[in-house]
Amino acid sequence: MHGIFTIYRKEMEDHFGSIRFLLIAALIVMVGVIIASMVGMSMQDELKGVAKPNFVFLLLFTSTGKLFSFTQFIGFLGPLIGIILGFDAVNRERTGRTLSKLVSQPIYRDAIINAKFLAGVTMIAIVMASLVLIISGLGIRLIGVVPGADEVWRLLIYLVLSILYISFWLGAAILFSVVFRSTATSALASLAAWIFLSFFVGLGGSFLADAVAPMQQTADVAQATEAFINNDRVQRIVSFLAPATLYGDATSTILDPLRKTPRSFILMGPLERLSLSRFQNPLPLVQSIVIVAPFMISLIAITFICFGICYMVFMRQEIRST
């Protein structure tokens, strides 16, 4: 424990002094705030003369303004925070020749990885929490609505989800920093994994589903329905390997209790029409949590898999200073 704490402290100092990290964090906070305030301003107009609809506050985070919603934005670019925090965690020490010194101190080797991971998670938590707080503050001013207890809980769960999601990428990046000796290679590998898992696995999922369980155009409704369900099931299984899909589905469930479909929706027209077109009753918070829990567990599980591989590679690795 002692070793973890010492390394953690140093890593935190490094992160706060790292221009690279500060730049990406500033960029993400800035864009996130801009997106949310654009949404807030357009809602301002629509809310005029309308009785307060349910969960209007959460719409700040989920509704797509001109481009995309805040949650979609974090789903896309959030991983970059994790990658930037982790891609050179271990191989930086290797190229700086400090690693052989570090592992010859009386600390367990996993303490090095754990401390670096924890420091990264702390940074992620700081960035995400301040982002959510800034947007909430702006939202209160822009739309003049104070979030209810239910909404605050949902936001908190969203925050935890986002931290888990970005932490997965941190874990993956640390894994690459253990496997690859050069920092440039591990940065490229992390980016490649990010692009692959975020953009192609979703597509690949539907291709695979169509190949394995094609949808049928038959007159028999029962058969067609079954084929459709099978197809969807294959897609879901594949997408469970894609953190971005997991994250997207989970956030839309938790932040949008009125939603009918797990796909993202677009805020069009007045809010009244919007709520008419959807279920009248929102999903209770507890039910939302029940739905989201498996997504969270999947996110944690894939992070742990990264760690398992990390330990396997690093624990017995020979460490030379050349």
Binding site: G96, E318, S321, T322
Partner: protein, 251 residues
């Protein structure tokens, strides 16, 4: 009185694929001794040290450092040893004090204790004036001296120095050797150091081991090696050079 054995190796072997880098090495080093580990490039000196430190696993054979197995009890070993790697690196944006403080903390040395020690050590290695500069701006010799300070901050029982004089100028080399000598004489530390430079090993070592292509071809006090290796009588002039070249040719 027999001195305690602190480093014990028996049948120690390391293979990388088909290449045997360390071949059935058996060697004991006693408490307070300076053991010079001599060998040309690629002889397996660093590999032997890594096995002693538990930084790589032996293919076969046993290692004990102060009675502990570095592979099974890594923390016990690492608490009592200090290691200066071949090309020591530092956190370049931190200054000398911060680097030393970090290592001290990893060794659970309270800050009040380490503050005093850091000042004393920086004085000893002649870096007190430059202590506030970031280590990135240090010269090779300064880094090497800082490396020694870092090894000593935990007051180890056994010190492993991998080519401590590499890249130093003659003056720096002399100072380094004197410092190593003093450590052993004044603080009773056991010192295991490697080098491929004969005269240095000759100057400060109590005993010498010569390793060539993974095999320990000779080990013992200099005089003994000379007698055995060259068939010289006691008192006859010899240099380690002659001995070394003789073994080298045989190997």
């Amino acid at each position: 009185m027999e001195k305690e054995i602190v480093i014990h190796m028996e049948g120690l072997t390391k293979r990388y694929g088909a290449q045997t880098v360390v071949d059935r090495l058996s060697l004991d080093v006693a408490e307070g001794e300076i053991f010079g580990f001599l060998g040309p490039n690629g002889a397996g000196k660093t590999t032997t040290m890594l096995m002693l430190l538990g930084l790589t696993e032996p293919t076969a054979g046993t290692v004990r450092v102060c009675g502990f197995d570095p592979a099974r009890d890594p923390l016990k070993v690492k608490e009592i040893i200090g290691y200066l790697p071949e090309n020591v690196g530092f956190y370049e944006d931190m200054d000398a004090r911060q680097n030393l403080r970090y290592i001290a903390r990893l060794n659970r040395i309270p800050d009040q204790v380490s503050t005093v020690r850091i000042d004393r050590l920086l004085d000893e290695v002649d870096l007190a004036k430059e202590a506030h500069k970031p280590v990135g701006s240090y010269s090779k010799g300064m880094k090497q001296r800082l490396g020694i300070a870092e090894v000593l901050i935990k007051e180890p029982r056994v010190v492993f120095l991998d080519e401590p004089t590499i890249g130093l100028d003659p003056d720096g080399t002399n100072k380094m050797l004197d410092m190593i000598c003093a450590l052993s004489r004044e603080r009773q530390m056991t010192i295991f150091f490697s080098s491929h430079l004969l005269d240095q090993v000759q100057r400060i070592s109590d005993r010498i081991g010569i390793m060539i292509k993974g095999k320990l071809v000779a080990a013992g006090p200099l005089a003994e090696l000379a007698q055995r290796g060259l068939g010289l009588e006691e008192g006859e002039a010899y240099t380690l050079d002659q001995i070394y070249m003789k073994y080298f040719k045989e190997g």
